[in-house]
Amino acid sequence: MTLFRIFILRRLLQQPLATAGTLVGVALGIAVVIAIQMANSTSVQSFAQALETMAGKTSLEIVSTGRRIDETVLGSLGWLRQYGSISPVIESDVLVSNNQGTLESVRLLGIDILRDHPFREYQLLDFGNDGTPDPRRFLSLLLDPDSIVLTEKYARRNGFQVGSEVKVVAGDEARILRVAGLLRNIGPARTLDGNFALMDIAAAQLLVDRLGQIDRVDIKMPEGAKLGSVEQGIAARLPAGLQVQPPARRGKQVEKMLEAFHFNLTALSYIALLVGLFLIYSNISTSVIARREEIGMLRALGLTRSQALALFLGEAGFLSTIGCALGLVLARALALGAVAVTSTTVNSLYVTSQAPPPPLGVWQAVLAFGIGIPLCLLAAALPAAEASRVPPLAAIRGADRTAAGGALRTRYLLVSLVLGLAAWWLTGFAPVRGLPLAGYASALATVFAAAFAIPPALLLTLRIGGRLFHVLFGVEGTLASANLLASLRRISIPVAALVVSLAMMVAIAIMVGSFRQTVLYWVEQTLHADLYLRPAARANVATEGAISAEAEALILSDPSIEAASRYRNFDIPYGEARVTIAGGDFTTQLKHGGLLFKAPLDGLRAMERARESGGVIASESFSLRYRKLPGDSVTLPTAHGTASFRIAGVFYDYSSDRGVLVMDYATLARHFGPLRPTNLSLYLKPGADPEKVRAAILERLGDRYRYFVFTNASLKAEVLRVFDSTFAITYGLELIAIFVAILGVVTSLLTLILERRRDLVSLRLVGAERRQVRKMVMIESGIMGAVSQACGTGVGFILSLILIYVINVQSFGWTIQFHVPWAFLAQTTVLILIATVLSGLYPAYLATASTLMEQAE
């Protein structure tokens, strides 16, 4: 311990900036991993927790295998009471006005209070001593179809009280409801941070336009009943079209739906950690290289090999413990940012989620230290082992220090080659449970192949470029390249770290650029209508909000409309996940639309066949995920039991990764009942001004109906907005990784400067001016940056191919056309070069800060 204190801790304190750089690198790496884990679990858990709080004491639920349960079926389910209490419910997301004059998403539960009170706990504010109302009195509050019960939390936040009027938008219609009561923060009222509302089931059906339909029947088993046998018993007796399941299954489906999105974010978050590990490796190996003579001396005095190993592993352990602790503190702040950035994607593409990330818990601490410390020790293992092998005499003579730089290590090239081949081999594997594990292994192998290729690449650059550096930068260029050549082993590691993060940035930029270009093309080709309408309450496919007949009539009464295409989509369970079923006006689409077909070649003919034969067309992600091709059949749960649909064609679709099956509206109605459309596409007569028609429609709809009406241009812009916000976090994570990598360059330059202090004195003695020394140091950082940028760009191109053609296809099932965003890459190249050159500023300042004689001392 004493040896550790005087040999390791003292050095760390003597080089506070290099130590701080490493700590910040590790802390940021850990913080990003924990933050993404927290952000991911927030969206899943907010849904699961909402599910759990809303489920209350529900043991099982009866749901439709398709969409909803027809209320008339309830009469034939009287036998369910043998298994416990039952309560029919409907659940929907509605919009409720807040004090800022905007609308907030609120989860609405419609219940029969007389049946529901054993299931869920409701306590009303100002309602007797404990707030638990008599069900009959509660019923009296709910009976008025124009009343709603909000939570105390929501009301307090927005200044509402009992008797207040609130605007509620369900579907497309805005209605004014009276707040009949306020729920204390207990039971379902805790859902979504208080964004919860309660209504009588009949009133709720009326509000959300689901007369005659319920979402599910909750069952509460008596004490002591066995869940498994009850579930089996019920399943055996249920009529076709219904199924029994524990409430948590819906959470699992959402988790599955978000799995690929979360997996990719998690993988991305590990880049910063990987770069942080490079820093640890760099710090420990620098420490070992710089102190070979001291280690040799200690070995000569009796330090055993295992003690030498323990000393340097101890250094890594010490740095990683502090780094992880700092990272943990930083993680929640980053998680808040990550949730804010990802919420647009999650809310627009998957499910409504609005909870903030949870506070840091033991689990996050276990994860931070459990991942951080072992990985840091692993990163330090190689240099620590090298320390243990230092021969006492050779080290004292300093003989092996001079031999360290300059020689081409062919084994590095060999390892790089083997890893490169492994990366190529791994691209051929199929996904595991829908996750591109081999694809990520391939990307990782590529990254390490690149890291091992760095020392030879640097050697080659410095040897060949030596003359060029002199021509470009004069004697300072020669000095800089000679210095780097002599410190090849030390600089290889921070350069490799920078290469890794830059390669990922380039790869992501190409992938996102390609994706954006593909989406742009797709949008151009497929969005032909002049106006697009959807009810304001409809945030995503999982939320309700159909276009009412009255509103549709009002809209279609506009004389400028030549044709209208109705579209309806909803989620149904499919296997372990959920897929989207959609109905569209195939006749109008055939005439006006522009779906892009992947197969067969004549997609329009396929669409026509689907219309005639009652078949479906499948999105590419459905086709890839479930391995279905044109000609195959899919079996779907419908309102009348399961039915088989033949896939007539596969079309490109980038609006969702969950898989979409589209059928003609008539086919949809035949199988799923008469459903109101959720979207309308309007084709205007020649010469009609879309903006004017839009204004006219909105005026006609008045205050009563709430709609989003997009013109063709604004919808395209909206698509790109959602697209860009989806990838905002990828750039955020990348920037952190690059920052950590540049930190690595700064810390290694600082270390080099400290080690070369004597050489700098010599240089000053023979007449080097301060500015020349500064220029030399900045050229060194510039060369490191330029080599990193060049290698990073090359490796980034390879990684982008893996991302686009392996990982993306296996995760989301999207074909992306390769497109290089040259302008973006050129800008970032210049910026990174400037950033790396500037990273030499402080080390350069340090190199010349003191007077010559102070330096000499």
Partner: protein, 244 residues
């Protein structure tokens, strides 16, 4: 004509709160073409005085003129440029840049002054050839013997044809044979090229090559700078006569 003039030069270092005088009131004149030895025991202040003479350090008080330039009136930048162009250095521990080849180390002062690389390399090659280093140019300093290293240091000190060469214990790290060889080189350069040299040493053998010997003790010159102690006197104090 004096190349170097020191007038009542003092240098005091601060060690915490305590001022430690290293040079106390030294006045000195060095004429062009002179070879002056500064002798004295370790810690007497001769290295400090040498650093001040070579524009490496500033005096705490007094004035120093190098080729007519008053050093106290020069900025750090001007001092550096003056040092680079008009002063050459030879140190006991050589002070090479280990990352540069012998050729580049020799050429360094010229390169730092912005001289073209080709021309500088040619000059460095020629100079190295005359010093018997022609086959060592591509090597790194760590691959040379002590004697070779000091010859490289000498080559680096004179490549830019300085007005003054400062040598601090130039034979301190060498065996006697190599030490003698280097001293001969100093002598030859002084005699044949008129090179002005001020060297510091604690060895009478080394001082014996000088045309004038100045003795230093406790930061002071024992003789006035204008008085001259001959090499013969030096040998009487225990130094050996250097063969000429």
């Amino acid at each position: 004509m004096p190349i170097l003039v020191l007038q009542d030069v003092h240098k005091t270092y601060q060690e915490g709160e305590t001022p430690v005088p290293a040079v106390r009131g030294v006045s000195l004149e060095v004429q062009a073409g002179e070879l002056v030895a500064l002798m004295g025991p370790s810690g007497c202040g001769k290295s400090t005085l040498l650093h001040i003479c070579g524009a490496m350090d500033r005096a705490s008080a007094g004035e120093v003129w190098l080729e007519g330039n008053r050093l106290s009136g020069l900025s750090d930048q001007e001092m550096t440029v003056l040092r680079r162009r008009r002063v050459g250095f030879v140190f006991q521990f050589f002070n090479f840049l280990p990352t540069l080849t012998v050729l580049d180390n020799i050429a360094l002062p010229r390169l730092l002054d912005g001289a073209p690389k080709q021309e500088t390399s040619r000059e460095a090659r020629e100079l190295a050839g005359t010093l018997g280093l022609g086959d060592r140019l591509g090597r790194y300093p760590s691959q040379l013997s002590g004697g070779e290293m000091q010859r490289v240091a000498l080559a680096r000190a004179i490549i830019h044809k300085p007005a003054l060469v400062i040598a601090d214990e130039p034979t301190g790290s060498l065996d006697s044979e190599n030490g003698l060889r280097i001293l001969k080189l100093f002598q030859t350069l002084n005699r044949e090229s008129g090179l002005t040299v001020v060297l510091a040493t604690h060895s009478a053998e080394t001082a014996a090559i000088a045309g004038r010997i100045l003795r230093m003790r406790d930061g002071r010159l024992r003789f006035p700078s204008t008085e001259k102690e001959t090499p013969g006197t030096a040998s009487q104090t225990g130094g050996a006569e250097v063969p000429r």
